[in-house]
Amino acid sequence: MTELIMLHSFRGGTGKTNISANVGALLAMSGLRIGLIDTDIQSPGIHVLFNLDESSVDKTLTSYLWGESGIEEAVIDVTESLGDKAGGKLFLIPSSIKASDIARILRNGYSVTLLDEAYQRVQDALELDALIIDTHPGLNDEILLSMALSNTLGIILRPDQQDYQGTSISMKLAQNLEVSDIVMIVNKSPQLFNEEMVKSKVEEAYSGEVAAVVPHSDEMMALSSAKLFVVEYPDDPLTGIFKKIALRLMT
């Protein structure tokens, strides 16, 4: 059975896309077949971590949702970006990065319920061990639908009052939608903060599990989403934390 893992944050800028890509990469490096799907149709971004641009992306999730292509046609094998360390496979299903397509989505919308079929079809066609859903921040139809379909939900937040309030809303929604496994990931925690203290405070506040507290990293910032951190810095302690997150999301 394929694990359907949704990574979500109530607010933008939490590092959700970076975590999705790095966790996906680690799972593929460990020998699993992993799909990464960018459902952030209005502001896609995960393709950047795999050095893809408008010219290298043809069929997308967006074209599938408009009935202009099959979802299988939108799959890009990005295993090569893991170097020679991949024991498994990593597939990316990007959203369109053409301004005209994004404008068209905003203007005309799309049939959101097709996402359900898309998830099912890529899981089956690619024989995936896990499909990781990278979402738009906040709440909208596709997030609600994806949340209801997920086996595991990772809510990403920063140690910040605005994120705390937003996370309580995401948690409440996920509980109402009866998501079976919900974990929180605290990202970009200032080096000054004691990680254990942050973890216990967040767990207590939300009566939920914190999978990891990820400290702010200058190396990660310096990569500026141009590369996968876990590939560039395989021995960095941060990669160890990403491994812990990956393991937790798969169990």
Binding site: S111, V112, T113, D116, D141, L144, L145, A148, K172, L173, N176, L177, E178
Partner: protein, 166 residues
């Protein structure tokens, strides 16, 4: 300014008139007036007195309907070159049902209803062509109504939203 023969050549390309002979088109061209509108310029407002049929020669025209009590408008259609608008006022003496605005610098041909009706009396076969266009507009309006009236969320989503009623 278009010469009469240029108007005739243009009118030939309109489906309304493509069965008319050269002589008939010549008469039609005589009752056509050329108008130019700048981008954003209003051609007529919803509620205005009708009485003129327009055909887009160049540019693009947006037809919008104001919604009651919402201070908002709904886009009914975009009229491209070689297409007419304002035909309803030929047969139905009512205020304009939409506001027409030039989306680009646009050149239009306009025909006064009385002149056009007089022309139709001489060539009644044209009524069939006009009927076809009006019927098409009716189907488009029905499509628009269905689009507006359909439930905003598919059933699967509505069920999820019901679960969120904290």
């Amino acid at each position: 300014m278009l010469l009469t023969q240029e108007k005739v050549d243009f009118l030939k390309t309109i489906s309304f008139f493509d069965r008319l002979h050269e002589r008939q088109l010549q008469k039609l061209a005589d009752i056509c007036v050329e108008n130019a509108y700048g981008k954003g310029e209003v051609i007529f407002q919803q509620g205005d007195v009708g009485g003129i049929l327009y055909i887009v020669v160049e540019g693009q025209v947006l037809l919008e309907r104001e919604l009651d009590r919402q201070e908002d408008t709904i886009s009914m259609s975009v009229v491209n070159p070689q297409t007419s608008f304002g035909e309803i006022s030929l047969f139905y003496d009512a205020p304009r049902s939409v506001t027409a605005t030039a989306m680009k610098n646009s050149k239009l041909l306009s025909m006064d209803n009385d002149d056009f009706k007089e022309f139709i009396r001489q060539y009644p076969d044209m009524l069939m062509e006009i009927n076809q266009v009006l019927s098409q507009r009716l189907v488009e309006a029905h499509d628009k109504i269905s689009e507006i009236a359909r439930p905003h969320k598919p059933r699967e989503l509505r069920k999820l939203y019901e679960k969120l009623d904290f």
